[in-house]
Amino acid sequence: MYLLEVRDLTKHFGGIRAIDEVWFRAKEGSIMSIIGPNGAGKTTLFNCLTGITRPTKGVISFFDREITRLGRDSIVKLGVARTFQNIRLFREMTVIENVMVSQHCRTRSGLLSAIIRSSSFRDEEKAIREKALEYLELVGLEAYPDTIASSLPYGSQKRLEIAKALATEPRLILLDEPTAGMNPQETGAMMGLIKKLQGLGKTIILIEHDMKVVMGISENIVVLDHGMKIAEGTPSEIKCNPMVIEAYLGKEH
């Protein structure tokens, strides 16, 4: 069963083809990596998948449902969550508030019940809090629920982003360079966390530059260069693909 299908996806910015007729599919429950040199169109691809950028042409379908032209919040509701390369959090909120507000699309208590503080409101509020703590525990931040998000150390902010993504109850999680700027130890922990997410039944697509991470955890790799897909395959296939080696290292003289 394919969770995500991208067909003929193209995005032009003026004369620049950021993504050029890209096709790929992601299997449910798998970990897939998208790699490529800087400027290959990886982040633009994520932006198209989450509704931040409208593609010029092409079709994105999620569970056999076309999501190409849907609004960002509708795509999230269907079950696509993401993190950013340059961390994006609600910086002035506390750690737990960040996770709680991310459960927004899965909760319903309205204004009226909040004002009269009905029992269903209090129950839901309590449930949201408990669930938020569970997500924090999963990423290892349960000790700092009341810290202001922007004062967390870098690595913890990256993990908070993942907890936020999880709180929207996604089926597909897009991770944009989850290990960027991390030391080997932190990278190892992040790989463990990604595996754990897969264990929860989530499908994961990551953009990554660290080849140890890419080769270590992905089942399938898509290689982009100048917006075009130049290769796709398992880690061992990609490792010895001459096109990929050329894109990364240049032509041999």
Binding site: D73, V76, M93, A114
Partner: protein, 300 residues
């Protein structure tokens, strides 16, 4: 004298704070200075007169004054919220991705339109708000406090506390703070930005409606142009407190009311309207982002 001016200042300050909240909430979310907001306050006052006149005609006021007043407040709030909601949909939403100056000009246009609309339909002369509550009041440490003043101070305080509770505790309040901090991120956790913006306009307009109606009761006179000066003052209050900050608008409003009332009493009432702006200039010299505002680095 001191206590008297304190009470007068708090009354005025409560009203400024309620209007300032509308400015600051919209700015926090859209980075738009909603110049039409003062007109909503003016509409609140006019609608109050209209509904009260209606209830008097049908005999409800004679039957039960409190009931008639409550209904007047509720209806004015509902109508003003509808005005605020509609203004956003017609005048600001289509310009959401336009350069920042365009919605600002649109806001000024809406303001001029509403003033003239009320002038044409209600006349250019002052309307009198029926004096239902004689100048009854209590003596308080040598000062005279009318029941209307007590009501205004209490109502402003209750509304501000409820707003604070709403923003910090409820799901929609949290969504508003999220949208104010990062719109894209907020939509990526499933928050519908349009709903949040509409809610912001509805709440801001409701507060302005209450402020307008209370001022109509307090001064007894209403004119189509009252929204202009009140709007500018409340905007000053919001900037004073740090625009975008909710506690800032509350504090700025009350501070402005106190400054006006004390300076009118102790310095001179000739320049009553100027003191507000003098304070604004001084504070912006010392702390350009306002009292509660955060200094922001320019986004590249």
């Amino acid at each position: 004298m001191f206590i008297q001016q304190l009470i007068n200042g708090l009354t005025l300050g409560g009203v400024y704070a309620l209007i300032a909240l509308g400015y600051t909430m919209v700015y926090g979310i859209l980075e738009l200075i909603n110049f039409a907001h003062g007109e909503i306050y003016m509409l609140g006052a006019y609608l109050g007169i209209i509904f009260l006149a209606f209830f008097t005609t049908v005999g409800l006021t004679a039957y039960s004054l409190p009931l008639a007043m409550i209904l007047t407040f509720v209806l004015s709030v509902i109508f003003c919220s509808a005005y605020g909601f509609t203004i956003e949909k017609i005048a600001y939403k289509p310009l959401r991705n336009a350069p920042r100056l365009s919605p600002l000009i649109s806001a000024i246009g809406v303001s001029i339109f509403l003033q003239n609309y009320v002038m044409l339909t209600q006349g250019a002369t002052d309307k009198i708000f029926p004096n239902l509550f004689e100048k009854a009041g209590i003596e308080f440490i040598g000062a005279r406090v009318t029941y209307t003043q007590i009501f205004i101070i209490a109502a402003s305080a209750v509304l501000m506390l409820s707003l604070n509770l709403f923003i910090t505790k409820t799901r929609m309040g949290k969504a508003m703070r999220a949208v104010a901090q990062d719109k894209v991120m907020a939509s990526l956790v499933g928050i519908n930005i349009d709903t949040v913006i509409s809610a912001t306009f509805i709440i801001g307009s409701a507060l302005a409606a209450v402020a307008g109606l209370m001022v109509a009761i307090y001064y007894g006179l209403v004119n189509y142009s009252i929204g202009y000066i009140a709007g500018i003052k409340a905007f000053t209050a919001a900037v004073l407190g740090g625009i975008g900050s909710i506690p800032g608008a509350m504090f700025g409003g009350v501070l402005l009311g106190l400054v006006e009332s004390f300076s009118a009493a102790y310095i001179s009432s000739e320049y009553k309207d100027a003191y507000a702006f003098i304070i604004l200039i001084i504070i912006l010299f010392i702390k350009p982002s306002g009292l509660f505002g955060k200094s922001q680095e320019e986004k590249v």
